[in-house]
Subunit: 265 residues, 2 copies
């Protein structure tokens, strides 16, 4: 039986989501807890919507796991909450709808990158999830730059390449606003992201926000389809996976089918 | 020469503001850093607007310190920022205006208490400064209760008594709103606060918000002028000193004169 887990975490003290030997990871912590609760000999592997890197946070992460049929979801949720440390929060555990796959059924991943560009930096309560940027940023220029990146493209220039995997993605939203308290929030939404793609996109629009290049420069980076050695991958701690969007239950399986097909333009 | 320091801190790992032997306090950390920077043999004592308790946070704390005339404020600010740990942030150091006293010149102290009353609790990024309350709260009832407490009163029922000190204060604002994300923010403003007063006020309005008593009960607690043994002092980590209000420079000395006079009704 498949269960859907809704999860938040403070990524500060994790080596990212994915299990790695000897390192503290979110997936590792949850799988270990499941082993303890269900007395499993082998961990049941979690499948996740967004494999966040070391230091990236999540409010609305979603994962699934296949377990024995006789397990009560609310019991599992309660036990996981009691067992896990405070930097992981199990928001909910539910039996998954027919055809649900946390990774392949997802329609959109929503991230927010948070930046304080005032000299004094973010206040100590937000310092764990807001980047301190030492140069003042022009949010309007950042948004002009974003216009050149939206839509379906080959984002090879923004990704670490992986053999056999496409870097074609559809960037649905990339927009920055300055909040009343001065913090800049950049919302980044796509059907899916390649490795380091969000933080590389931030690197491009922030360099333009700092007036080093014109907004049009973003288009030339994209069109080159080659990873530039001088392109900055912005620090992880400013980034939070805010939510994952799924279609209505009836369309979950069909969506997973589409996602599994390699994208082509 | 008097300097004004604007300070933020994450109160989690401090035993409050005020210096205590063997304990890590905000005042102690800053005074030690001043000793190092200025090679003082004896610490120069800081005077503060709000002596926060263990675990209480501050975004807009204000303090003053008297130092030698030849010290450059921006040099001091830079050195303090480099020397202090990340959970204290020196927002600014400025030569104080004539007649300025961080404690006695203040007109108002503004606090916010943050509460998550959903079963799942605040997300891990906010858990350090948002209280998790296990009973659902009625914000309207909390605001009705607040109406009975506003104005100038003897707040003895909400304070730890201190010999020779009055407990007469003017409560200028006590209002709660539920934000879009479900977090309740209660703003608490007074000319000044007695020890544990903010968290005791929260204890009363939260008990009313949880429908244990009618809003009118707040009036009877206030009128009794005796500290009830069953009155809860809410946990410190939900509380943040957001700002301190001072009058225009020309009125600083006069205001300090008024504050030094013991309040009477």
């Amino acid at each position: 039986m498949r269960f859907r887990l809704d999860i938040s975490y403070d990524g500060t003290d994790f080596s990212g989501w994915g299990v790695q030997p000897q390192l503290r990871t979110v997936q590792g912590e949850i799988e270990n807890a499941l082993c303890t609760i269900l007395r499993l000999k082998e961990p049941s592997r979690l499948t996740v919507a967004g494999r966040t890197d070391t230091g990236v946070h999540a409010r609305g992460q979603v994962a699934h796991v296949d377990l024995a049929d006789d397990i009560d979801a609310s019991y599992l949720c309660r036990r996981l909450r009691n067992l896990l440390s405070k930097d992981i929060q199990i928001r909910d555990v539910q039996p998954a709808a027919e055809g649900f796959d946390a990774r392949f059924s997802a329609l959109e991943r929503h991230y927010i990158y948070r930046i304080c560009d005032e000299p004094v930096g973010p206040d100590p309560l937000s310092r764990g999830f807001v980047l301190h940027h030492f140069r003042r940023l022009d949010v309007t220029a950042m948004n002009y730059a974003s216009q050149h990146l939206l839509g379906q493209h080959n984002f090879a220039a923004f990704c670490r390449p992986r053999v056999g995997a496409t870097t074609i993605r559809t960037l649905l939203n990339l927009s920055s606003v300055r909040r009343d308290d001065g913090i800049i929030e950049t919302t980044v939404v796509a059907d899916a992201f390649c490795h380091t793609m969000v933080r590389s996109l931030m690197g491009v629009i922030m360099v333009i926000g700092a007036a080093k290049y014109e907004p049009r420069w973003a288009a030339s980076v994209l069109e080159a389809q080659i990873r530039r050695p001088d392109l900055e991958v912005m620090p992880a701690h400013g980034l939070t996976l805010e939510s994952v969007l799924y279609p209505p239950d009836a369309e979950l399986a069909a969506r997973a089918q589409v996602s599994r097909t390699v994208r082509t333009i």
